[in-house]
């Protein structure tokens, strides 16, 4: 049995190579294009879906939590021993920079000067971050997110930066649950009420963020803000930690946990801190991507089926002759399997090159600008190869079935073109 199979393999390969070589270049290009497109459909569609969501995670990491976020314990008002934790962080070589943040809920009020007695005050609830402008910029690049006015500098008393979603003019669809400030812009004075203090400040700049939460935050300089909230011990509410390139957030987190930081604060990597809905959406989109991918596999299988079916049926006479002169049916079937493999492997290899040499780098440098995420193309090599394997496998089956159907037909009828 086995030596005959290897012989059939040999003959099948012989026939396949001759047939591929003499197929018209247009047909070859067409079939391979279909395979390339199928491969892209398989890898890119789900990769974009996942990339879109991963973009949300990436944005949160870049613009909000940084690599590691140290935050107030649930039952505390702020991080005790902030100073000691800060000096501990100073001794860890993997750490690039920190931003120490004072965070407090506040109410913003605008248009109070022109408000009539019977009108409702124009207010919005907000979290104000008291930051060192240079540190925060080093960690989250906040300065680059200013879309109007300018960023804070260290002496900017009574100045505030507002996230754009606090301003009515930047909101596309109003959400009745989220109040916004009308008719305010850079230079407008607004009133803030925080921890029993009311103060009038000037809007210095407006910032935009892909992170929804962040775009409803406000920023003031830490030296003023901590006085406003009476944080005389200088304990902060959060510390965002940016690591050096290549450093492993999990390793640094674990070191901080070992050093006892968790007695005073929560220590999370960007991934730990990711909102649950993001994780859920990633899962969902992965499933969706697989569904689309499976449809792609079915479509490509049908395509290959049709291609091989037409090829085999137009060559039915020759298949008959082959059988007549004693070529085994299995060898002929194998010749079609080889051809299918050839097209699938060439097609998906081209797709592979396209994905990793062009598409992934392209979307990395030119992410698709969704309002909530910079969409990139996520194509983990392992999954890509599994999909490639699936594609080749399904192609083999799709090529084998029609070949077998035609090879099984009566030899003489095939030669004579009878049914």
């Amino acid at each position: 049995m086995f030596p005959r199979f290897t012989l059939n393999l040999r003959i099948g390969f012989f026939l396949a190579t001759r047939q591929i070589r003499r197929t018209s270049p247009w047909t070859t290009v067409l079939i391979i294009s279909v395979m390339v497109l199928t491969f892209l459909n398989l890898v890119v569609v789900s990769g974009m879906l996942v990339g879109l969501v991963q973009g949300i995670g990436n944005a949160t990491r870049k613009e909000y939590t940084s690599d590691i976020i140290i935050s107030t314990l649930d039952n505390k008002k702020y991080i005790e021993e902030s100073a000691n934790i800060t000096s501990l962080l100073g001794t860890i070589p993997e750490i690039d920079s920190l931003s120490r943040r004072y965070v407090e809920g506040a109410i913003l009020e605008a248009n109070y000067a022109s408000r009539k007695e019977n009108e409702k005050p124009n207010t919005a609830n907000v979290q104000i971050f008291g930051i060192d402008p240079a540190d925060e910029d080093a960690v989250t690049g906040l300065a680059a997110h200013i879309i109007d006015g300018s960023y804070l500098s260290s002496g900017d008393y009574d100045q505030i930066i507002l996230g754009n979603h606090l301003l009515t003019q930047y909101i596309l669809i109003e959400d009745p649950n989220l109040a916004t400030l009308d008719n305010v812009g850079v230079g407008t004075k607004i009133r803030i009420s925080v921890a029993n203090t009311v103060r009038e400040v000037t809007i210095k700049g407006i910032m935009e963020s892909k992170v929804d939460l962040r775009s409803r935050n406000a920023f003031m300089i830490d030296t003023q803000f901590r006085n406003m909230i009476g944080r005389n011990d200088r304990n902060v509410d959060a510390i965002a930690v940016l690591l050096k390139k290549g450093a492993d957030p999990v390793a640094v987190r674990d070191k901080l946990i070992r050093d006892g930081v968790t007695a005073f604060a929560k220590v999370q990597t960007y991934d730990d801190a990711q909102p649950k809905f993001v994780k859920d959406v990633v899962k969902t989109f992965n499933i969706l991507g697989t569904v689309f991918g499976s449809i792609g596999i079915v479509v490509s299988s049908i395509t290959i089926f049709i291609v091989i079916f037409i090829n085999a049926i137009t060559r039915r006479k020759f298949i008959g002759i082959l059988k007549a002169i004693g070529i085994r049916g299995q060898a002929i079937e194998i010749s079609y399997i080889f051809q299918s493999i050839f097209y699938a492997v060439i097609g998906s290899s081209l797709g592979l090159v396209l994905v990793y040499s062009s598409l992934v780098p392209f979307f990395l440098s030119h992410p698709i600008d969704f309002p909530f995420s910079d969409g990139i193309l996520v194509a983990p090599p392992k999954e890509t190869f599994i999909r490639m394997g699936l594609l080749v496998l399904s192609t083999v089956v799709a090529g084998f079935i029609p070949a077998r159907m035609i090879v099984r037909k009566n030899t003489l009828n095939s030669i004579l073109g009878r049914n």
Partner: protein
């Protein structure tokens, strides 16, 4: 060494039965060259297909080389055709994407000869039919006569017990026909058993015997002078 006993073939399409072969007893000895003649529709091709194991008769027996072929399964028949039979069809029946030498070598490769041996035998066969200079041409780059000679080379390259030919010259001009028939005569001289269907008297006379078929029966077998 090939013998048919009371061979019949009936085609059935729905309720319509066509009795094409009506009990043929036929015998050819090893090394004989037999021409089968008869008018169109007499059943010559049908008879040849049964004898050459391309089709399965309705009843009767075919014994080739002492082997009772009706007991063979499909795989065995394919193997028998590969090793013991050679085929020449009216329309050459070459594989269009294989070169001349590949067409001839293919059955030899299927016989598990190694590549070198298969191709050198294929080359010898093509030399013999006068196409030693056309080895790499694909069929569409050969004339009809040349294609038929490639087909003949394929049919005898593996030294089959019997060479079956169904109107091998019907599509050819006189010159090409003569070339093909001279090859047949040469093969016959070397001891090749040949059974050939033909309409052409002059070529039938090159055979040792002429068997005439009419209406599904052999009506005469005559020796050529």
């Amino acid at each position: 060494m090939i013998e048919t006993r009371n061979l019949t073939k009936t085609f059935k399409h729905g309720n319509i039965e066509t009795h094409v072969l009506k009990g043929i007893d036929f015998r050819a000895e090893s090394g004989e060259f037999i021409a089968i003649m008869g008018r169109s529709g007499a059943g010559k091709s049908t008879f040849l297909y049964q004898m050459s194991l391309l089709d399965v008769p309705t009843s009767g027996e075919i014994v080739i080389d002492g082997e009772h072929t009706h007991a063979m399964n499909q795989a065995k028949r394919a193997r028998f055709r590969l090793f013991r039979c050679g085929y020449v069809f009216q329309d050459y029946a070459l594989l269009p994407e294989l070169s001349a030498i590949e067409n001839v070598a293919l059955p030899l490769l299927m016989q598990n000869l190694n590549k070198t041996k298969a191709f050198s035998r294929a080359y010898e066969a093509l030399e013999k039919v006068g196409l030693g200079h056309r080895l790499e041409n694909i069929p569409s780059n050969l004339s009809g006569g040349e294609q038929q000679r490639v087909s003949v080379a394929r049919a005898f390259a593996h030294r089959p017990k019997i060479l079956f030919a169904d109107e091998p010259t019907a599509n050819l001009d006189n010159e090409s026909s003569a070339l093909v028939m001279n090859i047949f005569r040469e093969l016959h001289r070397e001891g090749q058993t040949i059974i050939m269907v033909t309409h052409e008297e002059q070529y039938a006379r090159m055979a040792g015997k002429i068997a005439k078929i009419d209406d599904g029966r052999i009506i005469s077998v005559t020796n050529n002078g």
